[in-house]
């Protein structure tokens, strides 16, 4: 079963994303900031990261840069943000994001992109 880490400081957002991804039988774990995400990664790397931008201690950009510089298996990452400018997107890609989704994410959008990055087949509609 593919393992996904949701990194977001908002509990409600983590719960929403978790419900969507678990509905497609992914194994989901959560972290409230980049530091916790790194700690969990070092214990057991994940197949996909879903990362918010604004978090205390270590923000999403810092987390992705850190993940990409550690020489660990390069799991894909989706950055999820409320910031819509092209500059923000470019910054996310430079940090190491594979995809940039605008909040609030729709269930089918999150699931189809997660499946795409994980090499899984997306089988249709889900509801949180």
């Amino acid at each position: 079963m593919k393992r996904i880490l949701i990194v977001d400081d908002a509990a409600t957002v983590r719960l929403y994303h978790r419900k969507i991804l678990e509905s497609a039988c992914f194994a989901v774990e959560e972290a409230v900031n980049g530091i916790e995400a790194l700690e969990k990664t070092l214990r057991a790397p994940f197949d996909l990261y879903i990362v918010d931008v604004n978090m205390s201690k270590l923000d999403g950009y810092g987390l992705l840069k850190d993940l990409r510089s550690r020489g660990m298996p390069q799991a894909p990452a989706i950055m999820v943000s409320a910031e819509a400018s092209a500059k923000d997107r470019i910054r996310a890609f430079i940090a190491g994001a594979n995809l940039y989704l605008l909040k609030p994410v729709k269930p089918a959008q999150l699931l189809s992109h997660a499946c795409l990055l994980l090499g899984e087949i997306y089988i249709g509609k889900v509801r949180p």
Partner: protein
């Protein structure tokens, strides 16, 4: 592989006060090339009520994390209009760490931040409005729920409303019930809004049944 957390540079305990310890000498020391001197200057300037402007100006270009934290602490302690204005300016920064640090500092200033909250919540930039809502999360102020309710009733931007509804899911009282019920009607195409308001109303109903 152990995680090596980024540490703020070790600060020498050595007192590097060289310039006169008056206001002009200290503001000049803020521009020293030596971070220890800058940090001592910040620390001493916190005793000067008029230092908010100089500290806020330095904060925007201060590269050293320890000095930056000292400035945020000093601005929080000063808490006057200039200091708060300096913190608000940081909310517009591209630097995520600076923005977050300013938000944390503002959460400690309920009396000073409350008078400008309406202005922050009506800023033209939705990102600033989102940060203002995030400040409300820990702002110990009796009007927090009233501000959040107004946001979900009137703000046109889905993510500002989503952030406010997130907070209301944890602290809403009956005051917010009608506004929460109406929010999904304002954004009928957004499943997240339906999800978060449903969560908030469930918690509200649980509270009522206790």
């Amino acid at each position: 592989m152990p995680i090596i957390k980024q540490q703020a540079p070790q600060i020498s305990g050595e007192d590097k006060r060289q310039r006169p310890r008056d206001f002009d000498g200290l503001t000049a020391a803020l521009n020293s090339g030596d971070e220890v001197i800058r940090r001592w200057a910040v620390r001493d300037l916190a005793e000067f009520p008029a230092a908010g402007g100089a500290l806020a100006a330095r904060l925007k270009r201060e590269p050293n994390a320890a000095v930056r934290n000292a400035i945020l602490t000093a601005l929080t302690r000063l808490g006057d209009k200039e200091a708060v204005d300096g913190l608000v300016e940081c909310l517009r920064s591209e630097d995520v760490a600076l923005r977050n640090a300013a938000m944390e500092a503002m959460k400690e200033l309920p009396a000073e931040v409350a008078p400008i909250m309406d202005t922050l919540l009506s800023d033209n930039d939705p990102d600033v409005r989102i940060f203002a809502v995030s400040i409300l999360e820990s702002l110990r102020h009796p009007r927090v729920e009233v501000w959040l309710k107004a946001v979900i009733e009137h703000d046109p931007h889905v993510n500002v409303c989503a952030t406010a509804a997130d907070l209301l899911s944890e602290l809403a009282s009956e005051i917010s019930r009608t506004a929460l019920e109406r929010l999904p009607l304002r954004f009928p195409e957004e499943p997240y809004i339906a999800f978060v308001t449903d969560l908030a109303l469930k918690r509200l109903n649980e509270d009522r049944s206790r």
